[in-house]
Each structure stands twice: as structure tokens, then as C-alpha cells.
């Protein structure tokens, strides 16, 4: 399997696809940095981080500029695209190129092929995401001159792992379609369609569905309003994009203490200080586990399908 991983990695790193993606990632980092340059001062004043109670360094990643959104927004958009780009032709390109039967007639276990591809994809993904975070950290440090605290480093590291898992989910999904569909165009289109659905349409469908199930009007009671909002949230959480966004927010904006509905009467009693890392993690534990299990499920299905698939070229 080592030989397969090595070859796949060499393929990824020398491909034009990788080059283009990396360029995109670098541009996104630059844009994110610029956004932070514009917005970090006001963001720090808002959260009260300047008084020494908050996290200055994390604000680099979460503050948006006047028109340019924050870096985490760019990452949330790009990571699924990178995942899909790395996985969409994993198996069916081998099949259409006639290399699959040649590869499988060598003394390798059939699962080494798909495992090797998945592993090489994750390594590539990790390299890209880590580079982005390190680049932004380095330049950001130069820009604001405030070093990260130990907790910020841990939070950033967990964010990094979360991002890789999220990317791995999209790659797993794309690999699954590359096993199911014989045509490369089909697997690419279906992967992108699903991403589009979750990224854009889910946020429109969830309120519509919630309003249909729990109708609200101007005269609705507070209980009904809360019920509607909660349903809306539950529905939108079907989308892995929403899970990732929520988890990111909690990790990188430690002042966020709840993802649920907070009424005004509750909010006025809240102390606007950051919560501890343990509490933040507790809040996003379900998100993390769902994202991990989604990746595992996608990979497992493609694994099983691939193991049972006929090798015939036609």
C-alpha cells in the first residue's frame, strides 16, 4: 500500500489541479488576512479582548473587513471544493483509463487501492489546510504583534483537525460517487450538486419547512416562536456545512456559549466573557462526532461498493 500512497501523492502534488487549488488557497489566505487587517481593531474593541480578557490572536481568523469576509468563511467554502477535487475521479478515472484491471492484477489487496487513495487525499488536504493556517498565523503575528496563548494554539489545532475531517467527508463523498458512477463528469457533477444544495439551498429550505410545520404569525406566543426557531435549527443541522460553521464559530470565538435559542430575558443575565476550552468542546462535541462519523460512513460505503464491484472494463 505504501507504493500506492506514494504514487497517489506524487500524482496529486505534480498535477495542475493541485497547483490551481493551492493558488486559490493562497489567494483566500491573503484575502482573509486583508480582511483581518481591516477589521481586527473594531472586532477586538467589540469583544472586549483589548482589556485582556479575550483572545486576540483568534480574532485574526474570525474578523471580517469592510467588504471581504473573514478567513474562516473562505476556508469553509474552499475545503469542500478541495475535498471534491481530490476525490471525484479517484476510481472511475482508473477504470476509464484501463489502469484499474492492470493495477488489480498485481499482488495487492483490493482495499489497498481505495485506502491508499483516501490516505493520500487526506495527506494532501492536510498539507493545504495546515499551510493556510500557518501562513496566516505567521503573517498575522507580524501584523498585530500579539503572540497566541497556549489555549489559542490548542483551539487552532482542534480547528485544523476539524477542517481536515470536514474536507475528508467531502472527499469521501466524492470517492463514493467515483465508485458508483462510471463517468467522471457524472461523479463531479453529483458531488458539486450536493455541496451546492447544502451550502445554499438548505438555508432556504429549513425556514420554509419549519414555517410549514409550526406556522408563526405576529400574534404567536413565545413558546411557538421558540418551537419554530428550534425546528429550523434542527433541520438546517442536517447539513454538514452548518455543523462545520457552528463548530468553527464556537472554537474560534470563545465568547459563544450556546448554539441554541437564547431569549432576551436570558441574554441580559449573561456575562460577556469567553468560556473555557472544555466548555467550548462540550458544546461542539456532537458536531465533531457527526462530522467524523459522516466521513467514516462515506468511506465505508465506497469501500464496500468497490470491494464488490466487477472489474470488467465495459
Amino acid at each position: 500500500m505504501v507504493a500506492i500512497v506514494r504514487k497517489e501523492l506524487a500524482d496529486y502534488f505534480t498535477s495542475i489541479r493541485f497547483f490551481v487549488l493551492f493558488l486559490l488557497v493562497l489567494l483566500a489566505s491573503a484575502a482573509g488576512l486583508y480582511a483581518a487587517y481591516q477589521g481586527v481593531r473594531s472586532a477586538l474593541l467589540e469583544t472586549g479582548a483589548v482589556t485582556g480578557r479575550g483572545f486576540v490572536f483568534l480574532t485574526l481568523f474570525t474578523s471580517s473587513g469592510e467588504v471581504i469576509p473573514a478567513l474562516i468563511f473562505f476556508i469553509a467554502i474552499f475545503v469542500p471544493i478541495i475535498g471534491i477535487a481530490l476525490g471525484f475521479d479517484a476510481i472511475n478515472s482508473e477504470r476509464s483509463g484501463g489502469t484499474l484491471s492492470r493495477l488489480l492484477s498485481q499482488p495487492v489487496y483490493r482495499d489497498s487501492v481505495i485506502n491508499g487513495k483516501f490516505l493520500a487525499g487526506i495527506v494532501t488536504l492536510a498539507v493545504m489546510v495546515t499551510t493556510t493556517v500557518l501562513l496566516v498565523s505567521g503573517y498575522g503575528l507580524r501584523m498585530i504583534g500579539v503572540p497566541p496563548t497556549a489555549e489559542e494554539i490548542i483551539r487552532l489545532f482542534i480547528y485544523l483537525v476539524l477542517t481536515i475531517v470536514y474536507g475528508a467527508f467531502w472527499m469521501g463523498l466524492a470517492i463514493l460517487f467515483s465508485v458508483v458512477f462510471r463517468r467522471i463528469a457524472a461523479s463531479l457533477l453529483v458531488s458539486i450538486a450536493i455541496w451546492l444544495f447544502f451550502a445554499f439551498f438548505m438555508s432556504m429550505i429549513a425556514p420554509a419547512l419549519a414555517n410549514a410545520v409550526v406556522p408563526v404569525s405576529d400574534t404567536s406566543t413565545e413558546a411557538v416562536l421558540i418551537q419554530n426557531a428550534e425546528l429550523q435549527q434542527t433541520l438546517s443541522r442536517i447539513s454538514p456545512n452548518v455543523l462545520f460553521d457552528e463548530a468553527t464559530t464556537v472554537l474560534l470565538s470563545p465568547v459563544v456559549r450556546s448554539l441554541g435559542i437564547i431569549t432576551y430575558s436570558q441574554a441580559i443575565y449573561m456575562i460577556p466573557n469567553p468560556v473555557s476550552l472544555g466548555q467550548s468542546l462540550l458544546l461542539i462535541w456532537p458536531h465533531l462526532s457527526i462530522l467524523v462519523s459522516l466521513s467514516v460512513v462515506c468511506f465505508a460505503i465506497s469501500y464496500v461498493l468497490f470491494m464488490r464491484q466487477e472489474i470488467r472494463a465495459t
Partner: protein
């Protein structure tokens, strides 16, 4: 059994979507021979090969390849069997050398040994000059030859070639056939699947004809010709300057002669054994000037046509 068998199948059967593609197939290939697997498209040749390699599971029956069961021990089979698929594909972005290196690595060839073997096999298929050219730029013939190199690099005991000559020009075909014909001398058994009869006839020691998943006939070409065309009989052609009616009568009376037909100066005699000496004596005795006489040699085309005309 004194002879070692490279391939042996017992009632090998495979169904796809309820259609029986390979139907209780029995055949064997001896070591160090070139065996030709013939049949029209869709006869089940490729499916049979995939089962022999353990890439597809048989519905029932069993195969043994070099003593291993490909369904149970696919890796052991794949380690000693080289397979050239019909549509051979290479990683087009890699060079010929890199493609071969990858396959050598998958076969756990020693690092120090890899480069030497790459040079050796590329030399054999006459691609040494294109060693560092990306395979995407290769012509069909070059790809096919690289495919052979790719198979040889693992130094297999058995090579399975699926339609290796399709899409090649006559020169390419000749080169390839010469290469194949030399393989048994190096201790390699070859299973050649094809519907190119002439090529099979040129290099194969034994052949088997598949039709609708069944082996309709199996054996050496000479043997098969007699079985197929004359039902175990000989066909002897005699050409005389001026055929006489009494000669025909005399010939008909020879013991063993079944049928005598005339076609101009040509007399075609079907017999159940080699009666050349009796026939020549009869012709000479009749004072008819003998121009020529020969035992009909069967080409594979005759055999093949005979089998597929019957359907």
C-alpha cells in the same frame, strides 16, 4: 500426472444478470506452452481470464492456476501471473519507466533490482529509447509493447494476454508474435486470447475454441483440423493430367475410402486413415499421369468456420 499443468479448470461457471457467460468450462494448459483461447466476441474469453486471475468470482466450479486457487488465494496467483488486459491503460502523466517502476514496487521487487529489470524488459520490447517519454504520447503499438514489458517485469510463470494484437499494424503484430513465441523458452507459459485466427495458428501449440461459454473443441491445431473437417478422417487431393472414370472406380474400391469427388482434374478422396501409398499405387497402375498429391492441411480458419457455421 507427469506433466505439470499451468491452468486447470473444473466446471467453471459464471453468470451475469441471469445470463450464463461461462458454462461448465473444462480445459487445461500445460506448462511452457502457448495456448490459444479462441472464440467470437462475447464467447466468455475475458470472463474466463478474470476468473483465472481471481478478479471475478466464479458462480460454481473451480480453477487452479499454477497450483493455486485464484478465488481463495488471489494474491499468490497474481504474484506469479502477468495479465495484459485488452484495453491496457497507463498513467499518461508518468513516463514509461515510472509506470514500470510503480508495477515493480507493487510486486515488491528489490530496489536495486528494479532499474536493471526496467532496462531489461524495455530492451526486449524495443522501447529503450522511449524510456523517459510520458506514456500519454505513446502510439497504440508502443502502448501494447509497453504492456508486454509491464507484464514481464514481474518475471511471471504464466502470462495471460487478452487480444494483444488488436489495433496493431502488421509490423507491430509480427514483433509481438515473435516475442510471444519466444516466451516458452524462458520458462513462461502463455495463455493467448484472440479472435485473430492466423496469429493464433502461428504461435500457439494448442488451442481451445470457446462458444457461448463452452469449450467446443480443444487440442493441437493439426488434430483439431482432422476432427472438425472430416470427422476424424483424412482428405487427400490427387491431381492427374486426365482423370479417367475407371480410376475413380478403382479408388472407391480401396478399403477405407469413404467418398471420392472430382473437380476438373482434381480428385478429392475422404479416407479414415492415411492411405496415400495405396492411392498413389492405384493412380500409377491406371496409367494416369500424376501431377500432384497432397494431404489437405487444415488451417484454423476451416476449423473455426466449421464450428461457427453450425450455429
Amino acid at each position: 500426472m507427469t506433466e505439470e499443468l499451468a491452468i486447470e479448470t473444473q466446471d467453471l461457471t459464471k453468470n451475469y444478470d441471469g445470463v450464463t457467460v461461462v458454462d461448465h468450462l473444462n480445459f487445461h494448459v500445460r506448462e511452457n506452452e502457448v495456448f490459444g483461447l479462441l472464440g467470437p466476441n462475447g464467447a466468455g474469453k475475458t470472463t474466463t481470464i478474470l476468473m483465472l486471475l481471481g478478479l471475478t468470482e466464479p458462480a460454481s466450479g473451480m480453477a487452479r492456476v499454477c497450483g493455486f486457487n485464484p478465488t481463495r488465494e488471489p494474491l499468490k496467483v497474481k504474484r506469479i501471473v502477468g495479465y495484459l488486459p485488452e484495453e491496457v491503460g497507463f498513467y499518461d502523466n508518468l513516463t514509461a519507466r515510472e509506470n514500470l517502476k510503480f508495477i515493480a514496487e507493487l510486486n515488491n521487487v528489490d530496489k536495486a533490482e528494479i532499474e536493471r529489470r526496467i532496462d531489461e524488459v524495455l530492451e526486449m520490447v524495443d522501447l529503450s529509447d522511449e524510456k523517459n517519454v510520458a506514456t500519454g504520447k505513446f502510439s497504440r503499438g508502443m502502448r501494447q509493447r509497453l504492456g508486454i514489458a509491464d507484464v514481464l517485469i514481474k518475471q511471471p510463470k504464466l502470462i495471460i494476454l487478452d487480444e494483444p494484437t488488436s489495433g496493431l499494424d502488421p509490423k507491430g503484430i509480427n514483433q509481438l508474435l515473435d516475442l510471444i513465441a519466444n516466451l516458452p523458452k524462458m520458462g513462461t507459459t502463455v495463455l493467448l486470447s484472440s479472435h485473430q485466427l492466423y496469429q493464433v495458428q502461428r504461435v500457439c501449440h494448442n488451442i481451445g475454441i470457446l462458444s457461448k461459454g463452452r469449450m467446443v473443441i480443444e487440442g493441437s491445431i493439426a488434430e483439431l483440423g482432422r476432427q472438425a473437417l472430416a470427422g476424424g478422417r483424412y482428405l487427400i487431393e490427387v491431381e492427374t493430367a486426365e482423370p479417367k472414370a475407371e480410376l475413380i472406380d478403382v479408388l472407391k474400391k480401396i478399403k477405407g475410402v469413404e467418398k471420392v469427388e472430382t473437380e476438373g482434374n482434381l480428385i478429392k478422396i475422404s479416407t479414415d486413415s492415411d492411405l496415400r501409398s495405396q492411392i498413389s499405387k492405384a493412380v500409377v497402375d491406371s496409367n494416369a499421369p500424376l501431377v500432384q498429391m497432397k494431404v489437405h492441411e487444415f488451417s484454423l480458419d476451416d476449423i473455426y468456420m466449421k464450428y461457427f457455421k453450425e450455429e
